[in-house]
Amino acid sequence: MAIIASNAFGIFLLSETGDLLGQFSYGDLNKQSFLDAIKDQEKIIVDNTHVASSIRENVKVQVDLNNPVLKEWRLDRYSNLLEKTGVTIDHLQYIEKVKAFAVQRSRETVRKHAEGRDTLIAQAIHAIDEIQKSFVLLSGRLKEIYSLHFPELTNRVRNPATLAKLILMKPERTEITLDLLTSLGIDEEHAKYIISYKNESLGGSFKKEDLIIIQSLADSVHNLYKRKQELEDWVTNTMNEVAPNLAAVAGTNVGARLIAHVGNLRDLAFLSSGKVQTLGAEKALYKALRFNGKTPKHGIIFQIPEVGTMPFWLRGKMARAFASKIVIAARLDLYGGSFLGDQLREQLKEKSKKLREQFPNPPKPKETKGTSKSRKKFRKNRKRRKK
């Protein structure tokens, strides 16, 4: 058995009792001189994972933080270097060298992280949500303002992005034509109604310069909408590249949202499926734990159509099935494994069919349990089913 102490000054091969047998650099770990020095050892004890993983020779390497020799070395590293090795520096230089070693390693790992496109996906999702918030606010304001000019139109054009585009193109109501409306996807009936009011609207006539300012607001709303679409397209493409299995199982949007929620693919892949099931429902979960209530069955993955459209008494089961496949998919993606996404998806479809056959009817209500709210909801649903 031999021991290796490693640090900013190199690799120190020690005997079982701590005598120095040899001194190497990190670069030597694959060289013959080092391999010769350790080849007769049945086991090597180290206290650090970095050296452990760099030693590729066929010897048993064990990481042990409690080894007394290594512990003594570690706790008093500076004195040990001075007394037992050829290193001669003052304490200030020692710290400088240790720091340079640490900074270099930290910079490398930070950089590696930045290369992970999964974290970029997470950021894009946050950006999408933020744009969406601004879009809702600003388009609401635009509608409010434009209704002063043409309320019959703002009442009929429900889609805020369409409204913005229309105002951007033709802010003056008298210039709006039926063709324009239908070309923007507004259905014929609404379009005719709108046109019938364009010369006798309840709204006021606006001056040219007033319309220009409204138009520029419409431009902003329209731009927000376009940016959001671009980001969504990018997320879709990138998800298919970075996490194809996850994308196949959960869909690109939900998959990306799961990544965004935990921050990166690695952390998602290491969650339990129970945790995945409740991601995004943390508030409800904590509340339930505190008040000993019913724990929520699903969070973000509720947005997967196959989960959301399940009858309510099967939703929890379906969410659980999805969560377990999501974890498998995320791990496949993390380790660059093969593409099994479609297979996993198929299994889930199967499961959904089986569940529906097996439990066509809701369970009998347990009148004593549950909150009055959930009981009410249940009764409501029961009525609806009888219809």
């Binding site: 640090n7 206290d47 970095h50 050296v51 990481v63 933080l65 570690r74 706790l75 992280h113």
Partner: protein, 231 residues
Amino acid sequence: MEIEIKPAKKQQGVFRVQGIPGVLLATVNATPSLSVYGERLIPYKGKEYREFSHKRSKIASSILVGLKIPYLKPNAKVLYLGASTGTTVSHVSDLLTKGVVYAVEFAPRPMRDLLELASLRKNIVPIHDDARYPENYSDIVDGVDFVFCDVAQPNQSELFIKNIQTFLKKGGGAMIAIKSRSISQSKTPEQVFDEQQKYLNKNGLEIERSVSISKYHKEHQVFLGKWFGKK
């Protein structure tokens, strides 16, 4: 009111500030004219002091509620777990005029700021790693006099003890800030703190003092103990 700055009675290197609303503690700025997190810089009698925000830092609020941390002395080596962007680490760096602080943080985002801070201050050694695995940075950190842990994780007492066992010198001190809610949602804070203290004692960290800083940091309790080696 006239500004007045005096050494804090209990804590070497920390100063009491009077005459600036909201500012109670300060340290001497090791990088004059540079503010780290938006804290106030206060020139006073030929020196520049930095506001040591008790609202932002759990060490500052502990000192404010009367905790004395004798292990934080100018020549100490300190291991700081959960350094984040270095808000508190920067003040520890101010205090350690002849010492070093090893600052461990695993989230890449705050790590970037920490690396920048470390490039300005000689005595901060930044470590981008997971504090649950001291075997990852055992080739950087050596024997320390003081371990501080503020990682806000449910398992933090465990990793705290593991780091103590790995790096703390016998007779050294260790301090941990615990938020009851991040340990358990269903137990009362009293239960949580009691259990945590028992766990620490059982593992050889003799708790000398425990103070509540809930006035400044919601549901937080701070434990300070002395290490006598593994039991």
